[in-house]
Amino acid sequence: MTTEKSSASTQELERQLEALQRIAGVFGAMQKGQDIYDQINRQVVELLGVEKCAVLLYDQDRQCLVGQAPAVGVPNEDIRSYVIPLAGDSPAKQFWDMGQSFVVKDIDTDPVVQALGLADFAHKVGVKSTMLVGIRLEGQLIGVIQPSNRRDGMPFDETDVRLLTIYASQAAVAIENQRLYQAITAERDRLARVLETVQELSTPVVPVLEGILILPLIGFIDSDRAQRVMEGLLSGIVQYRAQVVILDVTGVPVVDTGVADHLVRAARAAGLLGAQPILVGIRPEVAQTIVGLGVHLHEIATRGDLRDGLEYALAVLHRKIVTADGQRVGR
């Protein structure tokens, strides 16, 4: 009798030890791309030998636990509608507040399940016995893991609770990692979109009058941006069939040899497409730098400001701005 008993308890210990080893192993095997809840559920089904398993997360605003899709053994639409209220008068609140695990041996006779009105839902998804164990992250409960229906038909026991508690503490880290990963991915995507917008904004090509393009350049110009400016300028010339392009550098704070060189190249390339380049908006300090650096901009027409540049452009095209009765407008 004693031998039988000790052999049984040895077997039980071995089962627990094996389960612990598996818990230690499974998180290493978590795959980043796959759904975290699906992986957790499948591992619990394996570990405890149960038919169904679901993860519920705590919703701060609604004060309730909400089922997360996908679950094992429960259809997605059902699990999404699965809510355990935890507000003030809810019978489940005390378990949540105490951080206790909660075991239901039989759905039909359990007073808490009846009081929560969840018996119908349990029947619908075929749950006979179940248990809930908290997922704790840094001392804070963030949700529960809920396996249901042991395959051997037995109710959940202490061992199941202990194993699942250990598992849940590991799962908490995995869930948090997943959350952080998603947050970072979302942030990265947002930054990529912002960068794209900035790049678009950094090379505007404005077709101001027929045959005349204006390129208002604002901010620092590095070689990457200079390349995009040149491409934008040339495709703008082709698109709008421009004959004159005005490069406005009023907003460029620093013009060094590199920038000057890029401007000259852009101007020459524009010339090869048959468009005359005009450089406007060179500020006094920029003029000093350009001359001081020994950069020669002789081959590009320069004008003081955008207005003069535009008038010059019109002159190149043998056009001028006049008032309705033919009076000349301008300086």
């Binding site: 040149m230 491409e231 040339l234 495709s235 010339i237 082709v238 069939r241 004959q243 190249r265 020459r268 390339a269 524009a270 010339g271 090869l272 497409l273 048959g274 468009a275």
Partner: protein
């Protein structure tokens, strides 16, 4: 071996040729000879060289174009190069071969107009 010859067409007072494939030594020399001969025969006042179909212009090709323009100029015909692709323009500038002294225009239509203007201004100068 037959040398590929580029067709040179006459329209009004001008000649038009379109280069469709990269030119190599023999074809380039042939093109130069043909063109100068045609200018001599037709007494053309101008010539439009269309490079719309060319994706890559190397320094050799740029040289040829500049040479042809200069030679035609000596014979009294102005040359306008048209249809340079933006990528070609960028690579020419990067290479530092800008076909100095060659007038350029966006496309054939613009090229003819530029040519008319050039010829007209020359005629004006001659009158004055």
């Amino acid at each position: 071996m037959d040398i590929y010859r580029i067709p040179i067409l006459k329209i009004e007072d001008f000649l038009v040729a379109s280069i469709q494939t990269p030119l190599h030594d023999a074809a380039a020399v042939q093109f130069k000879d043909d063109l100068l001969q045609r200018i001599y025969e037709t007494k053309a006042r101008g010539f439009v060289l269309d490079l719309t179909a060319i994706d890559v212009v190397d320094s050799f090709m740029a040289r040829i174009v500049a040479d042809v323009a200069e030679m035609a100029g000596l014979m009294g015909a102005r040359v306008v190069v048209t249809g340079l692709q933006p990528a070609v323009a960028i690579s020419l500038v990067e290479l530092g071969v800008e076909m100095a002294g060659v007038t350029t225009a966006l496309d054939l239509d613009r090229g003819i107009r530029v040519l008319r203007r050039l010829v007209a201004s020359e005629a004006e100068r001659a009158d004055g």
